[in-house]
């Protein structure tokens, strides 16, 4: 039987083949059973951080950490936390023998831009996992996208309760602590330092993170006996906060709680100090300022204004455990300065993903979810916590002590740091000092806690 090629036939075949090639990679990969199944000898990860905009320096530090993690996974450098991680599955040969490659995106700290950037990395670049953050709005938006697209989202810096509360998703995982945990760790120290008879005035960034942090800190300080004089929402990026600070002077409050982050925190704190709030005596007590969520970069931006001011952090390079020292040494020798806690969480998340894939023996997102929930090895519970939800993937050696990736909501539970602006820093990097390592039992909560209510993990989505 002879075959005849007709002009129309060739055109039809060409059109069909062209359309097939033009399909997004994740649609073409469906025959493998999940989105962007790696076929060659490399696997692509997508790092979505703010590279422009107000949090660009924070994003740059996250990117440095991602690059370091990729180097260590590929067997380059000194290996960092690969040597201290309690799961010894990663041996520097990539992930499941595939060399790790990565693409980056710029979130601009805007939810819509972050989503578009992640979408491009998934559809055009074939990224199988997305990580990154610096703000909860974009993190929540990207997490929802990853759930729809069928890839894993390993959140970077995001502190809103909603990320693993009402907006949690089966494909999303958060290593960073949250606003509730800040509210559980910080107030006992505040009571010890400032007493239980206080009137607090909140200035709060008007978006998801600010709202949940205000809710958590307000509930925790009121439980101590503090009164809340007022809560005022401020627009993100307000710049000049003088109009919001001057009413504090007449409010009868003796504590100002700044639920601000990044540039807003730098400006509001600096201006509050300029208005003489810290030199005031109100109700017979010294006026105090509290910044519940600190970062090293913000502390550097605020300069002398942070001296003696309390806040909380997920991690700090000054911790003395082996994991912290290994990571700080790797990072410090490569870049010349210590890593921020945003960098730490991004580095750890990349390694945790690689380990989960290795334990699962597959890049399939549902297999990775099972591994990160501790259902395929590594399962355990935190000591000293009597709760049915105290189960998941238990690990250590990553800088925070024993840590549980709780299966019920994909939130990590570990010790939290209470820190204070150092009075006499000896280098530009030790402008914060660790006051207390708050034990994980103190920051534990049940998955159905009212501040996290309303969400549902749902089912993992492999994208097929």
């Amino acid at each position: 039987m002879s075959r005849h090629f007709t002009r129309r036939g060739v055109l039809k075949s060409g059109a069909v083949a062209g359309a097939g090639l033009a399909l997004p990679t994740y649609l073409r990969a469906q025959e493998s059973g999940f989105t962007n199944a790696p076929t060659g000898d490399t696997v692509i990860l997508g790092f979505n951080v703010p590279q422009t905009g107000a949090y660009a320096d924070e994003g740059a530090d996250e990117l440095r950490a991602f690059q370091l993690a990729v180097e260590h996974l590929n067997g380059e450098g000194d290996g960092g936390m690969l040597q201290t991680f309690s799961e010894q599955n990663l041996d520097g040969t990539g992930i499941l023998g595939k060399r790790v490659d990565y693409v980056t995106g710029d979130t601009q700290t805007k939810s819509d831009v972050a989503r578009a950037s992640a979408q491009s990395m998934i559809q055009k670049d074939g990224a199988i996992m997305i990580s990154g953050g610096s703000s909860s709005g974009p993190a929540i938006a990207v997490q929802a996208l990853c759930q729809e697209a069928g890839v894993i989202f390993m959140a970077g810096l995001t502190h809103s309760n909603d990320t693993t509360g009402k907006d949690k998703k089966a494909n999303g995982f958060r290593h960073f602590f949250n606003a509730y945990m800040s509210g559980a760790a910080l107030p006992p120290i505040l009571a010890e330092q400032y007493g239980t008879d206080r009137r607090a005035y909140h200035l709060t960034a008007d978006y998801t993170w600010g709202w949940t942090q205000e809710e958590s800190i307000k509930a925790a300080t009121e439980a101590l006996g503090w009164e809340t004089a007022n809560t005022v929402l401020t627009p993100v990026g307000a710049g000049d906060f003088s109009s919001y600070i001057t009413p504090v002077l007449q409010s009868g409050a003796d504590v100002l709680i700044l639920n601000h982050y990044g540039g807003d925190m730098v400006n509001s704190l600096t201006q509050a100090v300029q208005f003489g709030l810290r030199d005031r005596q109100v109700n017979g007590k010294n006026f105090e300022i509290v910044v519940p969520l600190y970062s090293e970069l913000m502390a550097a931006g605020a300069g002398e204004a942070i001296k003696g001011i309390y806040g909380s952090m997920n991690w700090n390079w000054q911790l003395q455990d082996a994991g912290t020292q290994a990571f700080t040494r790797s990072f410090g020798e490569k870049y010349g300065f210590p890593p921020s806690n945003a960098a730490h969480t991004c580095y750890v998340q990349t390694l945790l993903y690689a380990d989960a894939v290795t334990r699962a023996g597959s890049f399939n997102p549902c297999a990775v979810v099972e591994a990160l929930e501790g259902r395929t090895g590594g399962s355990g519970s935190l000591e000293g916590i009597d709760s049915a939800s105290n189960e998941g993937f238990l690990f250590d050696g990553m800088g925070n002590g024993p840590t549980l990736y709780r299966a019920a909501d994909h939130q990590c539970f570990k010790d939290v740091l209470v820190v204070r602006g150092a009075e006499n820093p000896t280098t530009p990097y030790d402008n914060l000092e660790i006051v207390e390592v708050t034990p994980v039992e103190q920051v534990w909560y049940e998955p159905d806690h009212p501040q996290f209510a309303g969400g549902d993990l749902g089912e993992c989505n492999p994208g097929a």
Binding site: G53, E58, L249, G276
Partner: protein
Amino acid sequence: MDAIILQILNGLDKGSAYALIALGLTLIFGTLGVVNFAHGALFMIGAFCAVTLNALLGMSHQVEDPTRTDFLGNPLQVDVPYVQDIFGEALGASIIDWAVPLSILLAIPVMLLIGLVMERGLIRHFYKRPHADQILVTFGLAIVLQEIIKAIYGANPIPTPAPDAFRGSVDFGQWLGFQAGSIIYPVWRLVYFFFSALIIAGVFAFLQFTTFGMVVRAGMADRETVGLLGIDIDRRFTLMFGIAAAVAGLAGVMYTPILSPNYHMGMDFLVLSFVVVVVGGMGSLPGAVLAGFLLGILQSFASMNAVKSLLPGIDQIIIYLVAIAILLLRPRGLMGRKGVMEE
């Protein structure tokens, strides 16, 4: 009452920055007829003149301190500024402390030069083009300048403190006979207000009482006739562009202790300053100053909790509401010339 006085002070302070930027915008529009969307970037570059001088004065060499270690456990390298080597420890520290006021000396020539280069190199090619083209090219220029600053200095705010002597706050209430501690106001914000008043007075005096200023005012009223008299008005207008850039730059230098400079601070002020110019009257210098202070005070009052509890979010839109009302009821603005914006 003390709350009202505090908000008036806040408003005057904010208004000072608006007025200085709007004054420069109006000067450029009045002389060259150009709507300069890069003017906010000039304010930002002024602020970074202070950052630069602060960094230059802080340039150091390192001396090893064997008694202390750095974050990697190596002997600590302590920074010793060259200024302290040259002038001695005490005088060197004082010079570094006064970096912001000293930056004025750096900012004036730098901003004049940037203004002249901008006008001669780019903007003059757009005089005969429609306003839309002028807005696009100057807006593009603003973005380029912004990105250059970001590439050099990074994206995070850089703290640039006021000299120690001006860092605290004063009990303004006691001066006015109120209860002690009722009206506390930062010293530097008062300095900024008086500095702005001085610059505004200086610009007006220059235009009012010098021959150069008289020619410029004549040119603003009737460019063609002044040209026919054999006066090179273009050269004078170019210089006015440089002066307007310097005014914006000085506003930026002195604002750094209030708001840590970052690369996008100019954009934040630009839009509001344009509204100020429109409300004051396009091309009217006294109008720009008056509207700057009025809108600053209005914005401060709208931020009061009592007002916001009645009209949530009013502080974010009050200036734009006023602008809409002015454009509807009196398009030429408060002190604009009859006919401007009214065709």
